[in-house]
Every structure is written in C-alpha cells, then in structure tokens.
C-alpha cells in the first residue's frame, strides 16, 4: 500500500492520446463526404459581380461552367490582357463553345440532357461584347438555360 502511494505522488501520468486518431478520423470523414474536388484550374481572372436577387445552383452534375475574363498574371505575356474564354482547362475560341456543349451533353445521362444549365462565370470587368457573343453561340447550340454566377451583395457595388 505504501509503495503505491509513493509512486503516484512522484510522477504525473501522461495524458493519453490514444483517442486522438478517432477524433481526427471523425473530422476527416466529415470533410471527405462533404468535399467536391475543384475540377478546373482557373486561367483567367474571375472577380464575380455582386447581385442580391440570386437563386441557388445545386445539382452540380447538371451544370457546365464557362469562364470569361482577362488572363491571369502568369499568362498575360502569352495571351495578352484582352478577356478570353476558358472551357475546361484551356483557353478557347468562340467557335469551340458549340463543341463543348455537345460534349457536355454526350457525357450526361440522356434523360437529364434537357436540364443542362450553363453557368457563366464572368469577370466583372469584362466587356458585354464578348459575353453576348458567347450567349449567341449558346443559342445556336440550343443550350438556353443559363445562370450568371454572382456573389451575394448589393448590386450597386459593381459600379464604381
């Protein structure tokens, strides 16, 4: 009895870290389940404008993205500073939009093709000329459901 008491008083027992992996794994699984991988690397600047009359764009598998904006700093020397279109991982011309839509449609389940939405992620400093050219191409490809992706906030912030 005396021996036990002596041992206890001399050294504090170390805190058990055995349950630390469990806690970390719990967090890990949460993030694994809720994660969606970023599919594309942005090659263009993409500062979205603000709007407050927005609708949510869920069902990511039904959405295709078209990015428009001036090339990022790394690509300025090669591609200039004029706004460009980015499809998937590369710069594209207007004529490639139709093929892009067709390939997006081909990759979808046939019963869902009519629900395809095109999200236009356009930099707020781009010119309307290019945007409306893109819209014209989308009309030709009969991809008529579009979404101007925006950030949520007062729309008057767009004009400075």
């Amino acid at each position: 009895m005396a021996r036990f008491n002596k041992k206890k008083s001399n050294e504090t027992p170390p805190i058990s870290t055995a349950s630390l992996p469990d806690i970390v794994f719990m967090l890990l699984f949460f993030f694994m389940v809720s994660t969606t991988m970023r599919q594309t690397n942005l090659l263009v600047e993409n500062e979205l404008p603000y709007a407050d009359q927005v609708e949510k764009l869920d069902k990511k598998e039904l959405v295709s993205y078209i990015y428009i904006g001036a090339p990022s700093d790394r690509y300025k020397s090669t591609y200039g500073t004029e706004a460009r279109i980015q499809l998937n991982d590369k710069f594209a011309s207007l004529a490639e939009i139709r093929d892009f839509i067709y390939s997006e449609r081909a990759a979808m389940r046939p019963e869902l093709v009519s629900y395809l939405t095109i999200a236009l992620k356009v930099d707020k400093d781009s010119n309307m000329g290019l945007v409306s050219d893109v819209k014209q191409e989308l009309r030709k490809a009969e991809a008529l459901k579009i979404n101007y992706t925006t950030k949520t906030g007062e729309a008057t912030q767009n004009i400075q």
Partner: protein, 203 residues
C-alpha cells in the same frame, strides 16, 4: 531465449497520417454552392414576316452606354432609381376594357404600360459596357418583378412569393404541393418576366 508476447504496434503516428489526410481534404473542399441569376435565352427562330404589333408605351427601354451610364425611357438615370422606375412602369395598369389590370396599384397613366402581362422591358448594352454594370441592371429589373410578385402573393395568399418558392423546393414541406404550384404559376402569370435583350451595338 524465452518466447516473449508479440509486441504491440505503435499507433502514435496514426494521428499524423490522419491529420495529413484531413488537411488535404480541408484544402480541396468547397462547401459553398454557386449562386446567380437564372435566365432563359430565347431560341433562334426564323424571322417572322409580320411580327405582332407592340405598342410603344408597353416597352420600357433601358440603354447602357460604354461609360456605364443609363438612359431609361430617354431620361438619364442612376442605377439606384431603376428599380422604382421599373416597378412604376410594370404596375401602371393604364389599360382599359380587355387590357385593364384589376390588381395594379399604379397611377394608370395612359402614356405608360397597359398591363403587366403586356409590358416588356428591353435592355440594350454597348459592346464596351462592363459586365458588372449589366448584372447590376439585370439584378434591379429582376428585383422589380420580385417586389411586385411578393406584393400580390402577400395580398392573395398571405405569404410572399419567395416563401412560396422556398416551400415548393423544401422536401419537408407539409401541405399540398400541387396547390402551391398552381398559386406560384398564377402569380408568375400576373407578372410574367419579359426581359428582352437586343444585341449590343458596335461602335
């Protein structure tokens, strides 16, 4: 040598491995969903020989120039006033007889729109216009429609149009969705979203 019991594997580094994975998923994760203004483009149609006549007073013209200035119905305007002007135009209800609007609360100015179902808002931008301005204008015009729809929904059904739509999308909503859908369609028919877009002008 005596047989010793099998040694326990040291699990101390398990946490490190799990942390590594955790940080990877933390970095790659994007929880926010995209939001934006939904719009339907008009399909390309062969030009009509004799388009149905639209009265001039039923069209509300918004021009945006390359210096981000607005010209609304031939009057320069600030973006802050656009929503109010659009509401006033849509809600005017200046029609008589068949074209009368029995739910409009506007002044009934004969020089402005007859009926919200006839009223068209036309946006024309310049090729040099900045996209941010264009979105701001679109946002204000959609806001004008939403304001009127909310008002009518509140008057007829005691809840706003936004609430009705949220309920319709909510899978846990208790109540008849068919009836709700009918109500939503009715409100939409009262103030149909008629935003026309002309091709941007070159200069």
């Amino acid at each position: 040598m005596a047989r010793r019991p099998a040694q326990e594997v040291n699990a101390g580094s398990m946490a490190d491995i799990a942390f590594l994975l955790l940080i990877f998923f933390l970095v790659t994760t994007t929880i926010i969903t995209d939001q934006g203004i939904n719009r339907k483009l008009p399909p390309i149609q062969p030009p009509v020989e004799n388009p149905p006549p639209i009265k001039k007073k039923n069209i509300f013209i918004v021009l945006i120039n390359k210096n981000e200035q607005l010209l609304v119905e031939n009057e320069p305007m600030e973006i802050e006033d656009l929503r109010e002007a659009a509401v006033k135009f849509l809600d005017n209800g200046g029609g008589t007889g068949d074209e009368a609007c029995n739910y409009c609360q506007g002044p009934g100015d004969p020089a402005s729109s007859d009926n919200p179902t006839k009223a068209i808002i036309s946006v024309q931008s310049d090729r040099q216009t900045e996209y941010g301005t264009y979105i701001a204008v679109q946002n204000e015009l959609v806001a004008a429609y939403n304001q009127l729809r909310n008002r009518e929904a509140k008057r007829l059904y005691g809840m706003t149009f936004d609430e009705m739509e949220a309920n319709y999308k909510d899978p846990t909503y208790v109540g008849n969705k068919e009836v709700l859908k009918e109500k939503i369609t009715k409100i939409q028919d009262m103030f149909p979203l008629k935003l026309s877009e002309a091709e941007p002008v070159k200069n």
